[in-house]
Symmetry: C2
Subunit: 283 residues, 2 copies
């Protein structure tokens, strides 16, 4: 494995580049991005060695696709068209069903591996890329049986050097569960931020009163709308379901308060408190 192409040199693509560079010193990492400024940043941060274009993909041993999920869905068939029979193509999108569907009948389906490395920060772009981002994080791999044996093996070598723990799921189950444990958190944070900003827009110094608890709960509202809009679009049905349940739980909490039923307010919180144990495993 010598020529690695990273399509999308942002937080995820850049962080993967930093890790795969360690595989062997002869590796050359090529960056492809429609944002020329990002490409120059990636070069000066030295996590890519050269700029490249789609026409160069026939030279690739490995292609990492780390761009918004709607663009992945659109470009992935064309990427597979261009690569050789020996090339491994991996995506890192936060949705899996639409992306797997987009290439299900592609003649080079066996060259593709659908993955979702559960790692990131609320920042984006090349400067947000960091070494070791994936250590001890979960990597969800979908439809591994559709990928060629030796390419499966190559992928696992890469994920091992990244320090990730593998979990195998089908794309529909991935999208359903990830709506709960990831997508809903983002909407919860964005709408919390909106609610507070709207209320306090004329009294900005009120944010002096916000503590670390508010900062933590609203942190994901810093995330990129460019990245998250297509995720919500592709996972629409599941996300709407999570929102309905979340709104219903909030409404019930409000009704308990209106009824001065503070015993049930207490119970609602106590029953959720054991999230402590669940969260202990998450870094």
């Amino acid at each position: 494995m010598k020529n690695i192409y990273i399509i999308g040199v942002g937080l995820i693509g850049g962080s993967i580049a930093k890790d795969v560079k360690k595989l062997n010193p002869e590796i050359i990492i090529f960056g492809i991005d429609n944002n020329e400024v990002h490409l120059e940043e990636a070069l000066s941060l030295k996590f890519i060695d050269k700029k490249a274009t789609f026409d160069d993909l026939d030279q690739a041993d490995l292609v990492i696709v780390s761009i918004p999920v709607d663009v992945t869905e659109m470009l992935l068939p064309q990427i597979l068209d261009k690569v050789s029979d020996e090339t491994l193509v991996i995506d890192s999108g936060s949705t899996k069903a639409s992306i797997c569907k987009a290439v299900e009948n592609h003649p080079k389906r066996r060259n593709f591996l659908a993955t979702h490395p559960i790692a990131g920060t609320e920042f984006s772009g090349p400067k947000a890329a960091m070494e070791g981002l994936f250590v001890n994080k979960t990597n969800i791999i979908c439809e591994i049986e559709k990928t060629a044996f030796k390419l499966q093996e190559r992928a696992l070598t890469i994920f091992k050097i990244m320090g990730m723990n593998m979990r195998y799921m089908n794309p529909d189950a991935h999208d359903k569960h990830i709506a709960y444990v990831s997508h809903l958190s983002h909407i919860s944070a964005f709408m919390l931020g909106k609610t507070v900003i709207e209320k306090e827009k004329n009294e900005r110094d009120i944010f002096d009163l916000a503590g670390s608890g508010f900062a933590s709960t609203v942190r994901l509202a810093k995330s990129s709308p460019q990245m998250w809009t297509p995720i919500f679009k592709q996972n629409k049905t599941n996300v709407i379901e999570t929102l309905e349940e979340y709104i219903s739980n909030l409404t019930k909490f409000k009704e308990f308060m209106e009824a001065d039923n503070f015993d049930d307010i207490f119970n609602e919180m106590e029953n959720t408190n054991h999230i402590k144990k669940i969260l202990n495993g998450i870094q």
Copy 2:
């Protein structure tokens, strides 16, 4: 100032004890708590020197009240009854209107200072107490004009050694704004935790898929129901208002999704993104 009494030797009381100890080496810190185990822990952690009872309060130069807000409201008049004319009594509750109201006509009102140090973690109890918890954090002080001059000065000396920044507000304004920047975040986190736990109760390994984003957004759901139920009760009207606005924003987001209006989904997120700048000042 020699004899300092801490009523409630948990996260906040304990952390204040650790800081005031630095005022001078002759200070003796007495702990009062209805939880005998907590008192023993506080002694072995050495942030209190001795155990004490309410009957000893006539010896106090300073009393710090750091117990659930409903108990503060109930006990504060009795505490003021017991202390001397020279004693400063400070509370640290997350609500201020009910507590100020409870002592508004007390003959020793001038011995009391109502404060809300905006600091904490999601943990509770003596073991959660930490030195330096309050450094660079905001301390909201209410009705300072009702506190005796020389006791105001004594309080400011203490807050200075704790490293806090003072903000002065009236109790009603405090309760209204803190509902947005603190109380709503807690409910948002508790109900997010509930929604995900309910959905995944039969598939606990699904939490392997949860990343640091989920952990951050749901962190406050580890908070103590004992402490938070009375806060929501005392600040009921304001909290219900914040919940109505939050639910309305979430519902609007869901409706945009149902209508495939992803331009507005994008706008909702982009308009909230500037929370980045606001959060920069919060540690």
